[in-house]
């Protein structure tokens, strides 16, 4: 099998964050500031990534602007020739900092939206005043001329706000909105009883997206991640394991996807020990589920095996204890009926939110 070079890199610069969203995709065991990669480390990683074939870097976290050297990091990534995308809650951005990021060569900002009003957004983010700050930042970004995507993270508690989120994207001058239903990894796992949407809600969201895409063609691009547990076929996670993207954690661990550490028996390389190209092509974790050779039935003989690659390995691990199993979201999985039941029962539960905490 010929392994293509990666297109995108998610650089998790830090796990620190002023918000404490109950579906945070960071691992339950957060990395401490003391072991974060230095400015010089990241600068080298950006150069190695560009040389390997990475075209876009997503500067993420935690909250990436919690890094005091964020402007230097953007400058280093831009100098390496990477398209730089800052994935932020907006908290910590000021007019002066936005101007400095702009001058450093930032290409694009992705601003998260926890809800369409302060009551919802600040409750979900666990941060009073966050929504007001975010709206101010959106206006500053617009004034600076920085292109912006709004990222609305959706779940049972705020799904009814989707039409307003789409309106807000247009009003704020965003060219794109990502509408992403919460994926149940990391902190979202213990919150399934509070966040799982009902099947009707999921259907309504899909209808809203389809209608808005039609109505807003040429005005707003909508990227949509539907509610996974209610789907018929699984998502093609990462477009296929180790095929298009990689993730570097705050301490330099290189992962095939942000949740891969849930697969406990895999060993992951670190950019402090090995070059990024060597890790991508020869790393044990990257080769574990590349292509289709590792598959079992029903994936092995399935016509869709090169379409969705058996779904999400981390989900197969989390729900079935076997990362090489068919993602139970798939209707062909023997465990699909059990997952559908589980989804219904979580959707009916009235659990309290468990916020992200150290």
């Amino acid at each position: 099998m010929t392994v293509p070079p990666p297109i995108a890199m998610l650089a998790e610069l830090t796990h620190r964050c002023p918000l404490s969203c109950p579906y945070c995709s960071n691992p339950l065991e957060l990395t401490r500031k003391e072991v974060e990669l230095s400015t010089a480390d990241w600068t080298r990683v950006f150069r190695e990534a560009a040389a390997l074939g990475v075209l876009q870097v997503h500067l993420s976290g935690g909250e990436p602007v919690s890094r005091r050297d964020i402007v230097d990091l953007v400058r280093a990534a831009a100098a390496a020739g990477l398209y730089t995308n800052l994935v932020t809650s907006g908290v910590g951005l000021t007019q002066a900092r936005i101007a400095a990021l702009d001058a450093a060569g930032l290409d694009h900002v992705q601003l998260s939206l926890q809800g369409t009003d302060a009551e919802m957004a600040d409750r979900i983010g666990g941060y009073a005043g966050g929504f007001a700050r975010k709206m101010a930042v959106a206006a500053l970004l617009r004034d600076a001329g920085l292109p912006m995507t709004l990222n609305f993270v959706m779940h049972r508690m705020n799904m009814q706000q989707l039409p307003r989120a789409i309106e807000m994207a247009v009003e704020l001058g965003a060219r794109r909105i990502e509408v992403a239903t919460v994926q149940f990894h990391g902190w979202a796992m213990p919150n399934r009883g509070a966040l799982m949407p009902s099947r009707d809600q999921a259907r309504e969201a899909s209808r809203t997206v389809a209608e808005a895409r039609d109505r807003l063609s040429g005005v707003l691009v909508i990227d949509y991640v539907p509610a996974d547990y209610h789907a018929t076929y699984p998502k093609a996670c990462m477009g296929g394991w180790g095929s298009t993207g990689l993730n570097v954690t705050p301490d330099g661990t290189v992962l095939p996807c942000h949740a891969a550490q849930e697969i406990r028996h895999l060993t992951f390389d670190n950019v402090r020990d090995r070059g990024l190209a060597e890790i991508w092509y020869d790393g044990a974790a990257f080769n574990a589920y590349r292509g289709t050779e590792w598959m079992q039935e029903p994936c092995r003989s399935c016509a869709r095996k090169a379409v969705d690659f058996g779904g999400c390995r981390c989900q197969a691990m989390a729900l079935l204890g076997d990362p090489a199993a068919t993602d139970p979201v798939c209707v062909k999985s023997p465990e699909h009926a059990r997952l559908a039941e589980m989804a219904e029962s979580f959707a009916d539960a009235r659990a309290d939110l468990v916020y992200r905490h150290a």
């Binding site: 075209l55 398209y83 995308n85 290409d107 060219r175």
Partner: protein, 91 residues
């Protein structure tokens, strides 16, 4: 797509030569689009002032191709990128 329309490459979208894959790519938010030589030739003429008709005439002359055919390709290519908000049209 109206031939008098003037395509503009907005901030956050740019062309770049990809040394690793030996070809041109168009980079936009969450998108990296591999360009074929025709796409690259069209986008290289997008300067925010030239209309689709003007771009088509330039390319037709350069490649000694019928302007009607080039105009159709050019209009479809620009139209698809406008629908995806990767190109804008000048007001």
């Amino acid at each position: 797509m109206d031939g008098a329309s003037v395509p503009v490459m907005p901030r956050g979208v740019r062309m770049q030569f990809d040394k690793v894959r030996d070809g041109w790519v168009l980079l936009a938010p969450e998108r990296a689009i591999r360009l074929d030589p025709i796409g690259h030739a069209i986008l290289s003429e997008v300067d925010g002032a030239r209309s689709i008709d003007v771009i088509s005439a330039i390319l037709a002359a350069r490649y000694a191709a019928p302007v009607a055919e080039i105009g159709k390709d050019c209009g479809e290519f620009v139209g698809a990128l406008v629908a995806r908000r990767i190109l804008d049209l000048a007001a």
